[in-house]
Amino acid sequence: MEVVKGRSLLFDAARRIYRNRLAMIMFVILFIYILMALYSVFNIGNIYNLATSHIEDVNRSFIPPFQDKSAPFGTDIFGRNVLYRAVYGSKISMYLGFLTILIEIPIAIIMGALAGYYGGFIDDAIQYLMSIIYSVPGLIIILAFILLVGPSFLTIALAFALTGWVGLARVIRGAFMQAKEFEYVLAARTLGAKDGRIIFKHILPNVFHYVIISAILTFAGVIMSEVLLAYLGLSIVGVPTWGTMIADASQEVSAGRWQNFIGAVPFIWLFILALNLIGDALRDALDPRLRNL
């Protein structure tokens, strides 16, 4: 007798993503960004110095793009190579994105799980908190918070995480409310599983695709918002970020200086594009309901 071996959800999802050519290309792009970030993290070729130190030579200032081989995208007002700055910017964006996710996702999971699983008073209290944070003007709070505490990786990430966790928490709460009525949860409880085990080992894996997709969208959202912060002068100071470069460009393009723009925009654009498309592919691959679309 032939035994048909079942495929796990993860294996199945990996197989579908592997077949999705566009998603694979985007994963390769993401990998390149990770390499660039690592390149900056380990400071290979002293990229930090190249990207930040001012060159005391007027002739090196504002070299137009596509002319000098050593600086293909040109140099900025201080003679810094725009390409190096953009590459270094991928490290900053990764840090910001990951830090925000690391703070936001646990809050969302814990709040959503507690509210959905226990219900009653805990649910009421958390729902009240969520409705407040949902109704408060997030942007004003984010701007005010960063302005008061001062811009740094942690403050920016905290500001976005503390105002942004509600969306995911609501989805998780709903999913937990449904899931706790299912037989497999009853079965687990009959076998003597404690609440913590049921929440984290049994129910959470079933809603984890929401978490992954929300994490990716948060990541993209923070990087896009960093541009706004930079324009208002509230982004991290002293390191080249994509936002700072675009904000600088907004002052420079009227004088015909496109270097910062040409350096930063393709980098941020391709990165956000890759994140969005990977998010789409993961949603299609992980959500069994969308199988036959």
Binding site: S135, P137, L139, A144, L148, V149, L228, S250
Partner: protein, 313 residues
């Protein structure tokens, strides 16, 4: 229905009070009043006496609890005193800025809705085909493009180089439209990508439901199924997204207003944040939250109109 609305309106109060507590904590516990007061004053007048006077003037020398009560009183009477930066009554400022912001954000909101619905229906109609793919790809590409970069490109080419639109500015009456066309186009462009993708998901999900198969089985044309059945049902999630984006319209398009020097709420907010104009920020938080809660109430009510299964109770 009336009962429901009244109960919702009563529920609104604790939410608003909570939002005010968050803002209050932000400025009094995390930020520290001293920093705010210090930055509120002009560099020349940052003497201890001046700071003490300002503290007294704003009522910040009272106990925290009383300060919060003051804030609640201000919110109840909608009288937030004067702006420190602009030396005008805040109620007047807001009254003047809201219509300006609406004139910036409302037309793109309508364009966005119409264009996105049309494109998304097209996608759902030809799903999986070439036209669906090309629209989705373009929507995704547009969505990923940073808005600030879009403004920079448009301003330097359409306005500065080719002189199709004025670069920035603001006028009186009908003259304003001249300055508004470019912002309208830009806001629409920046929003359509995301909306098309969202609407398409909603439509496609709807198309795959059983009732569509039933309708097909009884011989209805695809056109009829799409426009009368699918469209109506898909309207419910779309309605939520659309209505809940209205409070954002009132808050204005922050970057757009700054860039095109349009004196709207977004501009007012940014100025208030960067000049530590505490009274204006306090007012903005209350006004925005009120709008937001009001429109979520409207969403609930419109559900009961669109979807007969939803009963307000």
């Amino acid at each position: 229905m009336i009962n429901y609305i009244i109960r919702k309106l009563i529920n609104l109060i604790p939410t608003l009070l909570g939002c005010m507590i968050i803002f209050f904590l932000l400025f009094n516990v995390i930020g520290g009043q001293d920093k705010v007061l210090y930055n509120m004053l002009s560099p020349k007048s940052r003497t201890p006496q001046q700071i003490a006077t300002l503290r007294h003037q704003l009522g910040l020398d009272k106990p925290l609890f009383l300060q919060y009560l003051d804030y609640v009183k201000q919110a109840a009477t909608m009288d937030f005193g004067k702006s420190l930066a602009k030396k005008q009554r805040i109620a007047d400022l807001i009254k003047r800025c809201v219509p300006v912001s609406l004139s910036v954000t409302f037309p793109p909101f309508i364009f966005d809705f119409l264009i996105s619905t049309a494109l998304a229906l097209l996608c759902a109609f030809y799903r999986g085909k070439f036209i669906d793919k090309i629209i989705t790809v373009f929507a995704t590409i547009f969505m990923a493009f940073p808005y600030l970069a879009l403004i920079i490109i448009a301003q330097s080419f359409l306005a500065a180089k080719w002189r199709i639109f004025p670069i920035s500015g603001w006028g009186f009456g009908i003259e304003r439209i001249k300055y508004l066309i470019l912002p309208w186009i830009l806001i629409t462009f920046s929003n359509v990508g995301g909306s098309v993708r969202y609407y398409r998901t909603v439509f496609v999900e709807e198309v795959n439901k059983d009732y569509v198969r039933t309708a097909k089985a009884k011989g209805l044309s695809t056109r009829k199924i799409m426009y009368t059945h699918v469209f109506k049902n898909a309207l419910i999630p779309i309605l939520t997204a659309v209505i809940m984006s209205i409070p954002g319209l009132l808050l204005g398009a922050l970057l757009t207003e700054r860039f095109f020097s349009i004196p709207g709420i977004g501009d007012l907010t940014v100025t208030a944040v960067t000049s530590y104009d505490l009274p204006v920020l306090k007012a903005m938080v209350v006004v925005y939250t009120l709008f937001f809660i009001f429109f979520s109430l409207i969403t609930d009510i419109s559900y009961s109109i669109v979807d007969p299964r939803v009963k307000l109770s």
